[in-house]
């Protein structure tokens, strides 16, 4: 077939509007670079703030760091009058209360999350989760208030009976004053349980149906499927929620300050009063006389910062590897 007789005409036109010069106002309105730069400044301010935060904590703790070195963490004398600062009682109190709080809240939180994700009808589950998330919106100082005026009176009536039977165990003996590691742990566990529930529930719900069906087909019970297939599949997200809760518990200040007793001592008994890092900062910061005292308190802040950052970073990494999940916590 011949293909010759094709006529291409001259182009008779100029495209409308293409040559019109843009005014400066139009260029500004369409100025993507300007918007890019301004928003970039907003984004990078996060990095600047974080860098400043680290720098300030580091610089303003130098006197204490130089004076005590690593001994700061393991010495148990906290004597502002003579300028001797050892943080062991606070470190001990922080670790004990946080771990005990997790020991209480993990089983309860995970149990509730399983109930809400696997058993409850979705509508009921959403409504209950909304209520539970309200718990997370209650400010820490209100938990402290409840702790002082509701929890401690209740514990005063319960603990003596408890001690009658279990008082021979070292961790439960001793006089109970109401304020104690134990009270603080209970308050903390109530504060972190919403996080465990809400995040774990979400990752459990996201477990694909195929994971369940495989075991269902083998005649497993609902619990078997949940415990052997669903929970293991979601374990990364659940671990993430636990680390996040741990970081919160470690850094929690007001509620703990109000119910732990604020005594700089190390006791094996959970019923004894104690102190935590955050509580000592809250109590003594405004009264700190002398630079060394202030720097010692700021070094405590630095320690708290470092530890919570480590657990937060772990939690975020674990949750990042769970694809498709945005968790604001």
């Amino acid at each position: 077939m011949a293909k010759a007789a094709l006529v291409i005409p001259e182009i008779p036109f100029q495209s409308r509007g293409l040559d019109r010069k843009q005014t400066w106002w139009e260029r500004l309105r369409k100025g993507d670079e300007v918007v890019h730069l301004i928003t970039l400044a907003g984004g990078w301010s996060i990095l600047v703030i974080t860098a400043l935060l680290v720098q300030h904590l580091w610089v303003y703790s130098r006197l204490s760091r130089h004076a005590f070195g690593w001994h700061f963490l393991v010495d148990s004398t906290w004597d502002p009058v003579n300028g001797v600062f050892g943080a062991w009682p606070f470190v001990y109190g922080t670790v004990v209360t946080s771990l005990l709080a997790l020991a209480i809240s993990i089983p309860i939180g995970l149990g509730s999350a399983i109930f809400l994700a696997e058993l409850a009808p979705r509508k009921l589950s959403n409504a209950l989760t909304f209520l539970i998330e309200l718990l997370a919106a209650v400010p820490s100082v209100i938990y402290g208030l409840i702790g002082i005026f509701l929890l401690i009176p209740v514990l005063f009536t319960v603990v003596p009976y408890f001690q009658k039977y279990f008082g021979w165990i070292p961790v439960f003996n001793g006089t109970f004053y109401g304020v104690s590691y134990f009270s603080a742990s209970i308050v903390l566990s109530i504060m972190v349980v919403p996080f465990i529930i809400s995040i774990s529930r979400e990752v459990l719900i996201a477990v694909p149906v195929s994971q369940r069906e495989a075991m269902m087909a083998l005649g497993a019970t609902k619990w078997d499927v949940t415990w052997r297939a669903v929970v293991p599949y979601a374990r990364q997200g659940i671990m993430g929620s636990i680390f996040l809760s741990l970081a919160r518990a470690l850094g929690e200040t007001m509620a703990v300050t109000m119910v732990i007793g604020n005594v700089a001592q190390v006791s094996t008994s959970l019923m004894a009063p104690g102190y935590t890092i955050a509580a000592v900062i809250a109590n003594e910061f405004t009264e700190a006389t002398g630079d060394l005292y202030l720097h010692a308190l700021i070094e405590l802040g630095l320690v708290l910062f470092a530890v919570t950052m480590i657990f937060n970073a772990l939690a975020r990494l674990l949750m990042l590897t769970m694809k498709g999940h945005e968790v604001v916590g």
């Binding site: 993507d32 610089v59 400010p139 100082v141 509701l150 609902k222 919570t308 975020r316």
Partner: protein, 285 residues
């Protein structure tokens, strides 16, 4: 005859464990209801008009209120929003619309970490940043502390809601000759505005209850604050100080203040969810 499958023991375990999970949920919910119920009962019964209209009475005397603390909290939140909201919005826009790869990951991760910084540490930071150079506590310092604490959530929630806007809308704008920034401001942000507002309201509600950072920044004040450069009372700090005091009258007022604070927060929380629901309804017809 074959035994039924699964065996009885497994069935019992099943029933038992499932019942236990239900029990956990009931326990958590009952704790929640106890806390809210007790607070509302104690708080509402402690309220009176003086509480809203008067400043604290001298120690030991009964009567008086926390007007100065409510004003202080409002001032602190205004300043905090003035700092936290713009930075959070801009950062959120940057992350969702401009940033890519490494810079997006770094900012996102750092934001999440900053969100996890204990509030008491944030207090120390702002103390060294603002209070030390100025040599005294101030409303300004308190507002800055709360403002910095607002940034991470404002930023991440803005980013999340902007990201949820479908790409087809952005392309629709660009295809009409809108520039990227025109598309962002006239299409993407309006499409996400209800979500963004919800996120910011919840964010404000969250920092409204913060106490620890205010202890070393805004400090406290028994009287009306004399201005931005001077210390101010705030509801959370008043609750703390009154709760640990030895006076029954102050305990009563701590309950009342707790009631007012929590009612405010819960109201904001519910309102913002309604806003979000309304936004969803609007954009789906």
């Amino acid at each position: 005859m074959r035994a039924s499958y699964p065996p009885l023991s497994r069935k019992i375990t099943n029933a038992l464990m499932l019942a236990l999970t239900g029990l956990c949920t009931v326990l958590v919910l009952s704790v929640l209801l106890t806390i809210l119920g007790y607070l509302f009962w104690k708080g509402a019964s402690s309220l009176n008009i003086d509480f809203f209209t008067k400043n604290p009475a001298p120690v030991g005397q009964s009567g008086g209120g926390v007007k100065n603390a409510m004003v202080g909290t409002l001032k602190l939140l205004t300043l905090a929003s003035a700092i936290g909201v713009p930075i959070g919005l801009l950062g959120g826009i940057y992350l969702s619309e401009f940033a890519g790869g490494w810079s997006a990951f770094t900012i996102r991760y750092t934001t999440d970490l900053l969100n996890g910084v204990p509030s008491v540490v944030m207090g120390i930071f702002v103390y060294t940043l603002v209070v030390l150079p100025m040599h005294h506590f101030s409303t300004l310092a308190g507002g800055i502390a709360l403002g910095i604490m607002m940034i991470p959530i404002a930023l991440r929630s803005t980013e999340d809601f902007l990201r949820a806007v479908p790409r087809s809308l952005r392309e629709g704008g660009l295809a009409l000759g809108a520039s990227k920034s025109e598309t962002i401001f006239t299409i993407v942000i309006p499409a996400a505005i209800y979500g963004i507002i919800t996120g910011i309201l919840l964010d404000i509600a969250r920092v409204a209850g913060e106490t620890a950072p205010l202890l070393f920044t805004a400090f406290g004040n028994l009287f009306d604050s004399r201005g931005w450069m001077h210390p101010t009372a705030s509801l959370p700090v008043v609750i703390y100080n009154y709760a640990i005091s030895p006076y029954d009258e102050w305990h009563r007022q701590a309950w009342a203040a707790g009631f007012v604070l929590l009612s405010g927060l819960l109201a904001v929380s519910v309102i913002s969810r309604l806003i979000l629901a309304r936004g969803k309804k609007l954009s789906h017809g």
